[in-house]
Symmetry: C2
Subunit: 513 residues, 2 copies
């Protein structure tokens, strides 16, 4: 059995059963091994950023990794942005990169590059296999690294000769360590602070975003008056009717500073201490006030759910809670696009148990509040700020959950970085409805220019507008086999969305904003 | 004057007058400085691989660098594949990457990454500026590094606070060192070997591909009977009527081995010693036979043109040469696509002084010979094997040479990695005609699978075919504002190509293969 077959058998034995791939010559033996070993589904992406974004979406929904298959340094490079997002989401991914045969590197042929240097910044774990007999061990360790708390990107670099040379066969899966429970002293410290005077806030992230964690946090908040927020971007959050209506920390620095200014006790439950996404001249990077007491109830690698439940019990917080939501708006909005009207359409039409991938950038900022009353759903976001996560992550989530509708809320500028993912949706007949917010601008950058204190001018006009020529997403989608239509009113959007959600296969709606 | 303005003034003073950009928040002050400093043209790419590929095409045609403007580690990562191609082409590029403010990195916010680790493998030179007062010096050195022989990618990483903090103003351009002339002993050694018995071959690359270098090499070959070849991929080669008909080294290992087997003297003129693009089981990486005498007439960083002229003079090779081409085929081919018929169409229709960017992969292999008799043109190829160079490099070449028609010969699979470049062509109204070879497969991988000794199967069928659903390039192009049509015969192609070459602005022809 050659190294390639030992690799694939090791992966399948470890429950890695989907491979998102864009291979090249140096991966030919891996492709061939996929044909000999049953149990691995192969999904092709036409650009590597699609491959890695799919693996991110899949891993977020499954809680276990997919494999990737990428080609040499440049192929890895093309996939790094969405690996960055996966790393920041702590998504388990086994990222396999083929490279030149070990003995071939010395010839410095055109595709030669330092793959390890490229991989390290976007991986929690990196290994270069040097012999075919190491591949199975290294693969078992890669799966272990990807799945071990807090999870992440394990990159395994496989020179071509490790694939075609004889190996010692596959390896059994290695034990995966569970999330450690944080020490009880942090629970006690948090309970004491919450009982004392002064405004408090609990910030939820990573494992503090599970449904059980949110419920425990809600109980604590109800019992103590503490405010509740999630991190600005969430990897995966169960939300909607029957779940606590928890808003997120604002992206805009001034809004975040204002919100956090009165907070005297800040309890971190799987979230890092809040900091501005970017630095701005004359604004602080740290978002909480001097003198705020920051209590690390649970770190990102710890079991925040268990810590929040322990905190609720320590505080004897009542187990029965309700959510006091205002009655949902009746009637479907009409007329031109507004963010509020869009939220209302979404709240009414999101199907039960759907998955929302939100990469809507400026158009997505106000969508948390109106969707508190949508049917129960999972909400996924871009966690690493690397543009282009939307379409691929939605695609991977649909591969993971074929029975759940996926709604991808996609900014037009961001969508252009990885539009090739639409073809994979058509190829795999995935139930993804993509709504493109066609404001025909990098609207976020128009705002950021003002935020850094600069004035618009000819260069910013060239660089931040997408209106000349306008992108035609209906043509783009059809070019990749995805049926599509354009909506320029809220009633048009509602009709198209409703129809698309009831049809099989992918669909795209270009919403003129 | 802040660091951003000092940067832009330094660049413009050094004749860096075009900036291909896809900026983000951390680059806002650079964008603002572009508005204050006259003389820099800004061109937007909707994905970073377009930005860097444009810079490659521009630099190849101008012989001086464009600047890029990229956003943080993930933005750089998205552009690395075409930087890899630029590095391998020795194209001068000043690759500017904005990053978080120096003091912000400690907060490890979502977009934080190790930008230097990402940049190093695909750059000849990397510098991280730490203070606003360093930016102008570092920029002047970056231009110098990009332009100094043999040229290449100089990456300058600029934390946001170096842009908005006060600087000491711009710096004057630094001296650029010319290509060193190789020592006369190599010329004498080559002359002796060529006068002796035994078959010889001269291999041309980098500066051995100029028109003067080719002519000198042709004189030498005529005088001595030596064979002449170029490297398998050329960064830029003047070709066509009135220029020597020099073929390239075959990509396929068996063909290259057969060609090189009888060669006893191999003279390298700006080319590396020939090695297989990839390793294959049971095939050598080195392509020339044991006992071949390899003479380094000029290294890739040396002046191969001067060395070849010196060699021709040393050998007293006649200055008058002719090229003995067969009479060109008359009549335009008709019927379905064949590679030979395509070559014939190209030979007849390529306009005088046009630029051809060939990224046609399998469909491009046979195009050198038939185009010996095309009107004089420059031929550009993918030099680093990083897929997706075609459309962006053609786009950048058209920005550099607005008066020269550009023909982009684009494989469909490879074209999907960077199709976003079509939008830039429409935006800038560039005269680029793209011919997409729609064979709806990764045909090269179907061949490579056989080459490594593996058999096709379900996985390779999933991973190497693009026919379900078929990509519709006419819709894709129209979606980005580029008019397009489909051709399924050679006469249809000829009609469309002829029309497109006479019209203003970009055009795309999807050729069913």
């Amino acid at each position: 059995m050659n190294g390639a077959e030992a690799l694939v058998r090791t992966l399948v034995d470890a429950d890695v059963t989907t491979c998102f791939a864009n291979p090249g010559t140096s991966e030919m033996h891996f492709v061939s091994a996929l044909d000999r070993v049953p149990g691995m589904r192969c999904v092709l992406g036409l650009a590597e950023t699609v491959v890695t974004g799919c693996a991110d979406g899949y891993g977020r929904m499954m809680g276990r990794p997919a494999a990737t298959l990428l080609h040499c340094g440049p192929g890895l490079a093309n996939g790094l942005a969405n690996l960055h997002n996966a790393k920041r989401a702590y998504t388990p991914v086994v990222n396999i990169v083929g490279d030149h045969a070990t003995y071939h590197v010395t010839y410095d042929t055109p595709l030669t590059s330092d793959v390890e240097s490229l991989a390290r910044p976007m991986s929690q774990w990196v290994r270069l296999s040097r012999h075919a007999r190491d591949v199975a061990d290294d693969a078992a360790q890669a799966v272990q690294a990807a799945r071990s708390t807090p999870g992440g990107v394990a990159t395994l670099i496989l020179p071509a000769d490790t694939a075609w040379t004889d190996s010692d066969g596959p390896r059994k899966p290695l034990a995966v360590s569970p999330r450690p429970r944080p020490g009880s002293q942090h629970v006690d410290q948090a309970a004491r602070a919450l009982r004392a005077d002064g405004p408090a806030m609990i910030l939820l992230g990573t494992s503090g975003l599970t449904e059980a964690a949110q419920l425990a946090a809600w109980r604590v908040a109800r019992a103590t008056g503490a405010a509740l927020r999630t991190t600005t971007f969430v990897a995966r959050m169960p939300r909607g009717r029957g779940r606590p209506p928890i808003d997120r920390l604002p992206y805009a620095v001034d809004q975040a500073l204002e919100l956090l200014a009165p907070v005297r006790t800040l309890i971190l439950a799987g979230a890092p201490a809040p900091a501005a996404f970017f630095a701005y001249p004359d604004k602080p990077s740290r978002l909480y006030a001097d003198g705020t007491s920051v209590i690390p109830l649970a770190g990102v690698e710890e079991d925040a759910e268990a810590a929040l439940i322990a905190l609720a019990e320590t505080l004897r917080a009542p187990r029965q809670v309700d959510f006091d939501l205002p009655a949902p708006e009746t009637g479907m909005p009409s007329g031109p696009y507004t963010p509020a009207a869009f939220g209302q359409v979404l709240a009414r039409l999101l199907p039960q148990d759907c998955i929302v991938m939100e990469d809507a950038v400026t158009s997505g900022r106000g969508l948390f509040t109106p969707t508190f009353q949508a049917a129960a759903h999972d909400w996924l976001q871009n966690t690493g700020g690397a543009i282009g996560g939307g379409i691929p992550t939605a695609t991977g989530a649909a591969v993971a959950c074929p029975d759940r509708p996926v709604v991808c809320l996609q900014a037009d500028g961001a969508g252009m970085y990885s539009l090739q993912g639409l073809w994979t949706q058509a190829r795999e007949r995935l139930n993804v409805v993509t709504v493109v917010f066609a404001n025909r601008a990098y609207a976020i950058l128009q705002g950021e220019l003002r935020a850094v204190g600069a004035a618009p001018g000819p260069a910013s006009d060239v660089l931040f507008t997408l209106n000349a020529p306008p992108l035609d997403w209906v043509h783009l989608a059809r070019g990749m086999g995805v049926p599509a239509e354009r909506a320029d009113t809220m009633e048009g959007l509602a009709g198209a969305l409703s129809k698309a959600l009831h049809a099989q296969g992918p669909y795209l709606i270009e919403l003129l904003c």
